[in-house]
Every structure is written in C-alpha cells, then in structure tokens.
Symmetry: C2
Subunit: 471 residues, 2 copies
C-alpha cells in the first residue's frame, strides 16, 4: 500500500486539536486552516465545542463523513484507544502519531503498547508515521500536519525527508528566504519508524511525478544495507542529497539519543553515499543550495568542464579553491578562438585563461562586456557550465549586470549549459539575484556555495553517465 | 613613520575625482561626501570646474591649504607627475595609488616607473598604499577612499585587512547584514605593497586602541617568515582571524595571478597559523562570525568546557558535530546538583547530560524553563561557555524566549561566561536575534556557525593561557 493517504488524504481528523495557543494541537489546527487544506478537516477534542469555527467532535466515532488520515496529538497512553476506534470505523487508512513514549524508551510496557498499536494497524489496514513525529506537508493540496511556524507553502520541485522536525522546518524556512522563494513539493518526518520507514518514503518520492529532487536530513540509520540499497534505486531516477550528521564521536552520541538510531563510522558512510550516487552535503546551506539548483534547472551539465567568469579576483579565487578540491570536476580549456574573442571584448587588464577556464574581467568590465564574454564562453565547445561572479562597484549597478547576463540565457538554455551566479553582497545585490533567478540562473550568497552546488550537480550528472556506460 | 596619515588625515586630495557616474573617481568622491569625511576634501580634475558642489583644482599645486593624504585614481602613466608635485608641495605624507600597471606587470619600463615613484616618495617622506589598491576606511572620521557600494559606516571593534578590494567590501556588507549591524573600526587594502606592507598594517592595528579584533582576507604572502613573525607579535595583544585562500592547486594559481604573491603549500600554512596564534577561517562567513563574537564580547571564556542547551535535537546534533571535531574544546561535565536541578526544571522528556554537557529540553520547554535551565548551567563550575539553540515552534514565540534568556545575561556577565545563540530560521526568529544581540549574546544563522565561532574564541583564549604558562 502506497503512502498516498498521508500526502493526498481526502479528509483528516486531528485528535487533540485545541483552542489553547500554548498547545501543539492549536498550532496544527491553525496551520491546516491558515493554509487552506483542500480536503475535509475534523477536529476532535471532548473538552471543546468549537475549534477555529468548526465543530469539535468528542471522538473519532462521532464523525459521520469518511476519515482517510488521522493525526494523534494526545499523549502516548491515549493512542491505543484511538486506534481501536479507527479500526471500528473501518475507513482510516493512515495515522500520524506525534507522542513519544513507545518502544524507543526501552520500557517493557511502552514496547508492548507499540506492539499492540501496530497489531491493530496491520489488522485494520492503517499505515503509521511515527511515533514521535510531526508528519507531512504537501504544497499541492496545502496539507501541513506539523506545528512549524511561519512556513509559506509554495509549490517547488524539492521533496524533503527529515529525521528532525526542527531541522526539517528550518530547511523550509531557508527555502522561503531565497531571492525567489524556491518552494517545495512534499515533506516528511517519519519519527521512530514503527511502520513507515525512510526507505519507503524515499521510494514514494522517487515515484512521485511532482518531485524533482530529494533533500534529506539524516541523523542515523537503523539498517544501513537497506538504506543504501534503496538509495541505489532512487539516484538513477532523481538526485538525492543527504545531510548526514553525527560525523564526530560526540555528535554521533547526541544523534543516537535523538533518533534512537546508530550513527556509525563516518568514513564508511562517505564511501557508501558516493557509491550509491547520493550527494552528501556538509551543511544545511549546502543541502538547500544544491536542491535549489536541481529544482530550478531542467538540464544537467553534459560534462565536468567549468568556466569561471568573474568581475573581481577575490570571489574568483574562493570559488577556484572549491572547484579545485573535487576531483570529479575540472576547469575548462578554452579554444584559441575563444581566448582571442575574450581579449577583443574585455578591458586590457583582464586576466584570460590564467589559469585555464578562468577569466577575471576586472572591475573595469561593463554590462555589455559581461554579456559578450558570457556568450563567448558559452559558445566554446570545451565548456559545460559557467560560474559567474561579481562584486558590483557603485558605478556598475547590479540590475544592469543582471540584465546583460539574462540576455544570454536563451543561448545558454539552447546549448544546455547551466549558468550559476553569485554577486556580493548584502542588500546591494538582492534585486540582481531576483532578476537572474527569474531567468533560470540559480544564485548563491557566497562564491564557494555557488561552486559547491555546481560541483554537486556535475557529480550527479557524471554518476548518471557512468551508469549508462556500465549498462 | 606610522600610518596615522592614511587613517587620520586632516585633509585629502583626490586626483581624478569625476562628475561621470561611470568612473571610480565619481564614486570615491561620492563616498567621501556621502559619509561626511571630517577633514578637508580637495578634488583635482583639470577638465572640471565643480565636483559635488566643490571647486575642482587643476593640479595638486593649486591647493592652498595643507594636504596630508593624496589618492591617485588616474592611470599609471600619470602617477609619477603627481608624486613630483607632491614632493614640490612638501606637506603630503601619504599616498594611495589605485592604478595597476607597475612592477607587477613584469614589464621593465613599468618596474622602473615604480622604482622612480618610490624614490620620490622616500625622499619626500611620503608613505604609499598600492599600487593597485583601493585604500582605507575609518569609521571614526568617516573616511572611505574606496569605490565600494552601499557600505554604512558604523563604529565597531573589528579592523579589516584585505588582499582583495571586493572581498574586503563584501565582508563589510555582511557586517551590515547582521541582526544588529556590528560595524567596524578600520579597513585597509594594501594592493601591491610597494611600500606599506600587510605586516606594517597588522602592527598598526595591534597598536590602535580602537581595534579589538583583526580580520584578514589573504590570498598569499610575499615573505612568509616576516608575516608569521609579525602574527606572533600581534596575537598576544589582539585576536587575529585570517581567511587564507588558495588551498587547492588551481585556487593558488588564481590567487597568485590576482595578487602577484605565492600561495604556498596549504598544510604548512595551517601549522604556522596555529603556532602563531592566528585563527584560520575557512569561509567569509566564519571570518565575520568569529570577528563578531570578539567584537561584541569583552570577556573570553576562562576554559574550554562548553555546554549546549537546545530546544530541538537536530540543531543540537549539528553543533555537537562541530564541537567534537576540535580537540581544543570539550563538552562540560555537569555536577550532580546541576543535573538534579535541570531534571527538576525541565519537561519529563528532556535529555539531560546525554552526552555530557548536552541538554535537549525538547519542544515542550517554555520561556521560564529556558531561563532557569540557562541559569543552572551558568552556575555550574564545570561550564565555561554556553551555546543556546532553538527552533521556536509557533506556540513559543521567539521574542518570548529571547526575553527569558536575556534575563540571565547579567548573571552570565558576572560569571564571565559567554553565551552564544542560534535560533532557526529565517524571518521568524529575526526579532529574537536582535533582542539577544542587544543584550550581549552573539547570534548566528546556523548552529554549526555558532559552534565554530565559539570554538575559535576558546582557541584564542587557550592560546593566551598557554603563553602565560610558557612565560
């Protein structure tokens, strides 16, 4: 049975919805109402008559309409009774359990309670997220079963799996903060995985036509073999980026306490991620940056040869450092014609192909020179992708450069060569970043972040090519 | 002769000031006028009568008042004549040369031109920044000889040395973007260092009473021995953070082209930085984050024992990973009393001292619990610094937590224990970060960045203690 009933329920019953703003049950109800979930919403709380203007039911059994999905916000001890009621109803297909206090505590009676819950669930055909989870989001039908704050639902290509509700929410807040909010598709926090596992959710995203790229925050895995086997089935279909924490010894102890799963030897994970085509991110920023690139672009670079076109030396050097530390990527080597053309276009002080693939136009370059140099580089057959950097001086306003660069984007798309950009810094360049993102150029806050996202995209593209050769 | 005439000139003559917004000479004039430089400003351009409402002189020789500092924005070939005029005047003490095209080109006649320029300068007692540099800034007298855009001058404790004008400007733009703009003290870009070197500027900052911390962006060094000997003299007096790029091979080639200095073997640099007490930053973010912590706080942690107090597991694990990867820092071990007190204060699901020094209060913790737990940890004699993390759920609004935390800051200051904070994420927590920064808590965008800045502060503190023991 698929996870459709979690992500596309026709109706949801929220057991423990509340009128008290200090309770999670209030915030979840608020999120569902505020976002305008497209299905039926039922609130259940025997102590209330009305919640958010809707009738509050005493029990699941009192609801006359059909109930697809239930979300249980009440403490652990009340959960079994809810499952009994769900079984009695016969229509419930999916359940999200927020409470902790089950098998993860190691206490025999709690372990038994989880067993009993699962027994009913299996018998009644109910799939379970949790315990100890905040559930799901889906921007297609405005579903949000979490108590996360301030998240705007905007459709996008990235789907998220998080082993931490808070980091999962933070990822979405960062997506809202991009120059052009990148949005997301689906989001899931599976908690203790008594039933639905990370692996099953990964496969669901793989098969989901709306998901373009999968971003995952991981603290540990219960079954490494199963995880990597799944990853190997996912990555040929969709890029998968994982921020796996617990790198250091004490970090992994903390991770194990938090999610109850073993962190394991970090270097072994590194190798396994690489072999299964998973892009491992070091930071939340890298996770979001890389997912943004995949979610914005429909074409992967055809090869691994990068050109850097910069208006300022410092950002150029910083991004070269990043490019130079990944053996899967190399700097492009321009043809003699391209070098000659660049010399013709650019100010006399410009540094061209020194080192190969690197062009420092200097602060003397104006908007048209940016555009013409970009065109010359895009047309070079030795170039697969371009990284464009600038610290616009006051006499060259950022939107003017953005406009010049944007004028070459039809050509870039025609040639299938991605252009990544980073202008520095602060509010000074914000409008330029928005203009470029609206034209299909992913932009980044810092040059090394732009370079890393591009490197990740090239790694994925190379992984796919290697698979084809291997076939 | 000191560098006072660069940073505290009574008057400045700008040779090449312009009314044409497309020229650097316009933007520099604009910056000086816009910021309201406190001394006399003279504009020199024989083609103009009036620039920014002020008389434009034909030549340096026409200025009747005294001229302390000259900034030369005209092309290289005109520079010698300006120096001859400056010598003839006899009052000029300092010169900033923006043009490139001197010794760095390797062309014999350009090398000779630089020699001739320096000969006059030495004879006339004129110190030189550059060639190929944008000069200085000083927030004390609103001096800005650069053409950087959009930089608000606000006094702060950080002074900057940059080998890239653009990254140097970007650093300041990031300081403006902090929750509470952190400001800066002095800024310098020495360019090709025909006369004034990085080392001399470092010593000037070391002796400058307004500078609390030195942040440096470095692409290479011409004389490594001299640099590290200077660093060794600076770091016992003031913390010094260096972002040294050119880590990878191609990155170092690009760096050498940009600044004309050798990048050298990166691991050797790593060791030399450590031995001379320099904090090496990996990114611009880390450079600014760390400088912010030093510039905000007057007390260093007394030891290396860190406690993490978090409301959400994910950020806790991420920061533990960072702490765990630096051998100079370790997690605190609470006393039995502290553990008992935390158990009393916090929700039953809270994870206390698992691992040591780590407290996950869980999303159930309210404002008063944040405050009381922070107090209990601060009072523990085994704790030297606290890292506070939160992903505030909607039912616990960020400013309420900030207020609770702020109430314990008088205690933290009394005990001399720094508190660092990171709330996640986006606009949702911005006000809380501002409130905390106004109470002496440096805040950071991401948990690993907060942890890294704290680690750096602890490393500096440990370096100073080791020096004392060595004496």
């Amino acid at each position: 049975m698929s996870l459709e009933h979690f992500y596309y329920p026709k109706s949801i019953a929220i057991i423990g919805a509340s009128n008290n703003p200090a309770k999670a049950g209030y915030q979840i109800a608020n999120n569902m109402i505020r976002l305008g979930f497209e299905g039926e919403i039922y609130f259940i709380n025997p102590k209330e008559d009305i919640i958010f203007g809707k009738k509050a039911y005493d029990s699941l059994l009192d609801i006359e309409g059909k109930v697809d999905l239930i979300e249980i916000i009440i403490p652990a001890k009340g959960v079994l009774e809810v499952f009994r009621q769900a079984e009695q109803r016969g229509d419930v297909r999916a359940a999200i359990i927020m409470a902790s206090g089950f098998a993860e505590t190691g206490i025999p009676e709690n372990i038994q309670m989880e067993k009993d819950m699962l027994e009913i669930a299996h018998r009644a055909g109910i799939r379970v997220f949790g315990p100890n989870c905040v559930g799901v989001m889906n921007t297609e039908n405005n579903l949000d079963t979490t108590f996360a704050a301030d998240i705007a639902q905007r459709p996008g290509g990235m789907s998220v799996i998080s082993q931490s509700g808070s980091i999962g929410a933070a990822i979405l807040m960062f997506t809202c903060d991009q120059p052009v909010p990148m949005g997301f598709c689906k989001w899931g926090h599976v908690g203790n995985m008594s039933d639905v596992t990370t692996e099953e959710l990964l496969k669901y995203y793989r098969d989901d036509p709306k998901t373009k790229v999968i971003a995952m925050y991981m603290e540990g895995m219960t079954d490494a073999r199963s995880f990597f086997e799944t990853a190997k089935e996912v990555t040929p279909q969709k890029p998968m980026i994982v921020l796996k924490v617990g790198r250091s010894e004490i970090g992994s102890v903390a991770a194990a306490s938090h999610t109850g799963s073993l962190a394991g030897a970090d270097k072994v994970f590194d190798g396994a991620f690489r072999q299964t085509g998973v892009l491992r991110a070091d930071t939340v920023e890298e996770l979001v940056d890389t997912a943004k690139a995949f979610s914005m672009l429909d074409q992967l670079p055809k090869g691994n040869r990068v050109a850097i076109l910069t208006e300022a030396g410092g950002p150029g050097v910083i991004s070269m450092d990043e490019i130079g530390s990944h053996k899967e990527v190399r700097m492009a080597k321009f043809s003699n014609e391209t070098n000659a053309r660049l010399k013709e276009i650019l100010p006399p002080m410009a540094l061209i192909s020194h080192p190969d693939g690197y062009v420092d136009m200097t602060a003397g370059a104006d908007g048209p020179q940016h555009a013409e140099a970009l065109e010359a580089i895009l047309r070079d057959e030795g170039v697969d992708a371009v990284l464009l950097l600038s610290v616009p001086p006051t006499f060259l306003v950022p939107p003017a450069i953005a406009e010049a660069v944007n004028s070459k984007m039809p050509l870039a798309k025609e040639l299938g060569k991605p252009v990544f950009a980073c202008f520095l810094a602060g509010n000074w360049i914000k409008e330029a970043h928005i203009m470029m993102e609206n034209n299909g150029i992913p932009t980044f806050e810092m040059p090394q972040r732009a370079a890393r996202a591009l490197v990740n995209m090239i790694k994925h593209s190379a992984y796919l090519r290697d698979l084809q050769i291997g076939e």
